[in-house]
Symmetry: C3
Subunit: 434 residues, 3 copies
């Protein structure tokens, strides 16, 4: 049973400042501007091909900014659906991503030193942003139940492990995963679920009063959903080989997502009371098509092939929210706040499997066995890494919130008083006075 | 009098799944990736010119993403101004647009087959997004008064008719309409108004308690307004001929919108009680400059010419909201929820007329008569097509909401309880108990 | 003591319409489309270099749109943190920016006529957007305490003075300020503070009931924060020389902002009660790294150099909010609503000093003395210009709000009733009846 010393006054600032100072020192030693005088090694084996072709160093910049929006607005606002946890959702998302992108650049770059240096290009900045996505996915699994200190620790460990798996998958196995269904989505989800399992809170088995939305918090979350949905084609194509491959990645993702919306809405209505739509499904399952088409995005599967993937993903994801999440929580002790298993976990595996099939069918050069190994590696690193990380996070001095303060900003944030004078002014969230 | 069987449990899922499966089959038959080996036929007669020049198949991608943001964030959030209809506004906007872009790609592409195939390029994706705009404009006219099933039916029919008119205007008449004042804005508005006329609800003549905004719903709507406003230069220039024409389209739209803001604010203050500004005007009439300059956007009308168009549009649109919308509702039975007549209808006609004048003055190659014919065609197809569509939508088994449940998400959505325990927690919208 | 004739019915519309008509006439005389047939003179001495290289006139368009989003969404929503001033924040931001970009294009362009004309390119549109930023920064200082008429007057004067200082700094002194730490951020902040000093309201020394946030208004503000944060690399690099310089500006800003987030969060926790985070700091101080790295952005300071600047800026800015803002208000009579001194003022000076040091160290061609003169000039023009402007704004017929109506939309806006029937429905802000 952890101690609930949730006063962050020294722990958090000292950790954050120390991490940043160490990071700056490592940058001083290792990181220089890209001078364009190298072959380039990015996250994927098509990186060389890519960077050589690009003349203007800012060719990829618009795509980078789309990915940037997904990371900071998309993930950040998607998690604001909770009625009293919006500050933490968008605020800690910013904190974790800002640190993760620095740490990710180091952890990915150290595998590919060029004259002993990491040469920062827009391509590397995209990959740095990508690495943050794993952390933000895992954050979704433990949302509301962890302190900023715990989350920074998770960030360090997860990004480091991600860097190893990513190197293994892309460089050693030579697997295709342009949209990162396996190395980001499945990895981030199962890492987070393993952490959540370690941090299991029996007292939260019965629903917590703050573990739900209010009307406007659901609208804030839709800001995140829609920005993720729109820019997903950029996510899946940003590091594709320029030209036809990149266009294919854009096109496949665009249509997969469109088909996914229809199947997610239909399934939501089918499984809900009186055929009503459920915001949780709409906010999340409509995005599963982007996850699931990731590995295949730059493969010649045809627009209709992408649509089938998206269509299936929308159904699987919605059914997962409706039927699987409650079972995971009650039977396996995995309390998945945002349902990342449904948005990133299962669709990520679906994407990995689709990739195996597509490569086996010759839709892209590669080996189906290596694709399978890449999926297994991503899941293995995620589960083992997440479990170890969860154990470390469980140590009783990281300021973890007590059960009754879960899903509540006010434990780590100054929250505005909703009262003026002696009048009680409700804001959809405030306890009525007597 | 329609029956009010609003339980969507079977109707909606079956329709959505069936439509998506049919669409996937049609994609399997007709749609392939663009291989760059064709002249290209887009929505407009400058398409060939355009695609030939573009080397990188993703040259237009940033503009596509701007348009994408307008469709999904812009239109979606603009309609969240209603206090209890935000889920439907942004959620059904996503549903309709996701289906419409697939259907639009087919309906536009079938007129321009290339070796029997539709070759998807970014250019075609922009046009697919464009075609969704017509539906979303019409959605604004009937917002709050229609079921998801009715709206999907409207989408199929409207896009199909749009495809015919668009082919006629661009290919047969050879008219200029780069920013689509006529073929999207005027068409979408009058189509929607014709539908609204068919679905006239006498009981809503007196204002409905949910047909209004609350403070924060008006702020959500401003997210839509501002994203539409900012990216409108991309909308009007995305399919312009690259180079000078495209720059002109960007510049004209930028300045037209800027001038429109000043005149809309001034007019709003002039016509309102004590000179106060009205959020309805600010959210909508500030955008009329983008609509009205559409047809002329790539014409050599000079920045000041564009500003005059925007200036007039801002005044016309604001006056329309203040004086014309109530008359349409009370005298003509046209209940236009979002006032699309003022934002898209009149400014669209203004844009069409400006185009006739500009072509007559030699600001662009073309025939003033053909411009006039294009405007007439767009209005004619819209009114007749909308009326027929409205009649079909009126059939009594599409789950249309009863009058008292109009403008209320809870009829088609699970809406979060605003109560915790036995305390009533107000959220700016909730009925007080007792 | 000013008269409180806040009825805007004639004053505001007449002023807005007159300004727009004058502007259109000036555009008719001076402004033409860019024909590509000139060397180009932008805001900075690298402009010529820049425009010559750019072939496609829309090369800079994606960066322009990023800046556009910062101006209209970023600044607009950042200021929505006030509980009852969201309409004004995002609405008047749109009004002022829409007028300022037109006026800015004229005021900057008149210094660089080409055959007697201002030739509008995307580069000039970026500079026009830039000039609006000064006004929006100053708007933050006087937010809630000024009428739309006063603000339009401030816009005219501030942009005009900005144009003079910008010409002096960039063309006469030849100083570097690619990200405009000095000529936009420091200038805008001290201009606004000087205005605020002139408009000092003793009655507001004790906190005003509306001068604070509610839960959801803080979330709206985070929309502004995150969009500013993400696109700041575009702001600082948009007018840099293409190629390596521009990449450097992007990279430096990206890492400066990331480091700034960590130090701002740490400092916020360190200075707040029980180590909690304060939304005011998170919304603002996380951006100080973008301001402070502005002048040095395209200099060869190394990514770690940029991070040090951002790290320091995050600390300085947070400390400023905590300790300096209250002192300025109570001791100097400077009531800085948004704390622009902490976000733009001090970080802007920090940026100017960093630029002096960097140039002295040879990180960029230039003269440290000229950099110092540029900083002094920006501060001088700001303080003197702001004081004069403030005096003019104080004249008693511009409709300034009385003290008790400060920070309240309802004085200039129709605000929706939160009541339905006779039930009082609270919205987090509403006065209880009886």
């Amino acid at each position: 049973m952890p101690a609930y010393a949730t006063n962050m006054r020294l722990k958090f600032p000292i950790l954050a400042l120390t991490l940043e100072i160490i990071t700056i020192i490592l940058f001083a030693v290792f990181v220089v501007y890209d001078d364009g005088k190298h072959g380039g090694h990015g996250a994927h084996n098509n990186a060389t091909h890519h960077e050589e072709k690009a003349q203007d160093p800012l060719t990829l910049y618009p795509m980078f900014q789309d990915v940037h929006v997904m990371i900071f607005v998309g993930f950040g606002f998607l998690m604001t659906f909770l009625k009293r946890y919006g500050f933490s959702s968008v605020g800690l998302n910013l904190l974790l991503a800002a640190f993760a992108l620095q740490w990710g650049l180091l952890m990915q770059g150290l595998w590919h030193l060029d004259d002993g240096k990491i040469k920062v290009s827009v391509f590397k900045m995209i990959n740095a942003d990508f690495s943050t996505a794993t952390v933000l996915i895992s954050f979704g699994a433990v949302l509301g139940k962890t302190s900023p200190v715990q989350l920074l620790i998770m960030t360090i460990l997860e990004i480091t492990i991600f860097g190893i798996n990513e190197h293994l998958v892309a460089e050693i196995l030579g697997a295709n995963d342009v949209g990162a269904s396996m190395i980001i989505h499945a990895f981030g989800a199962y890492f987070g679920l393993a952490v959540a399992r370690m941090l299991y809170r029996p007292a939260l088995r019965n629903s917590h009063e703050n573990d739900g939305s209010v009307y406007h918090s659901d609208l804030f979350a839709m800001i995140g959903t829609v920005f993720l949905w729109m820019f997903w084609p950029s996510f899946n194509s940003a590091i594709a080989a320029p030209g036809t491959d990149q266009l294919m990645a854009v096109t496949n993702t665009y249509f997969s997502l469109a088909a996914c919306v229809l199947s997610a809405y239909a399934t939501s209505s089918l499984v809900e009371h009186k055929g009503k739509l459920d915001m949780v499904h709409i906010q999340n399952a409509t995005l599963a098509g982007g996850v699931a088409v990731g590995t295949c995005a730059d493969m010649d599967i045809g627009p209709f092939g992408a649509m089938i993937i998206g269509f299936v993903a929308g159904i699987v994801s919605t059914l997962g929210f409706k039927f699987l999440t409650p079972i995971l929580a009650s039977n396996l002790g995995i309390q998945d706040t945002c349902g990342v298993h449904n948005l990133h976990g299962m669709p990520g595996i679906l994407g990995g499997i689709a990739g195996i099939v597509a490569v086996a069918l010759g839709k892209k050069d590669g080996s189906a066995a290596m694709q399978g190994a890449a999926l297994a590696s991503s899941l293995g690193f995620a589960l083992v890494g997440g479990a170890i990380t969860g154990l470390i996070m469980k140590l009783p001095f990281w300021g973890q919130p007590p059960d009754q303060n879960c899903f509540d900003d006010s434990i780590y944030w100054e929250v505005p008083e909703e009262e003026e004078g002696e009048e009680s002014l409700a804001h959809g969230d405030q306890k009525a006075e007597a």
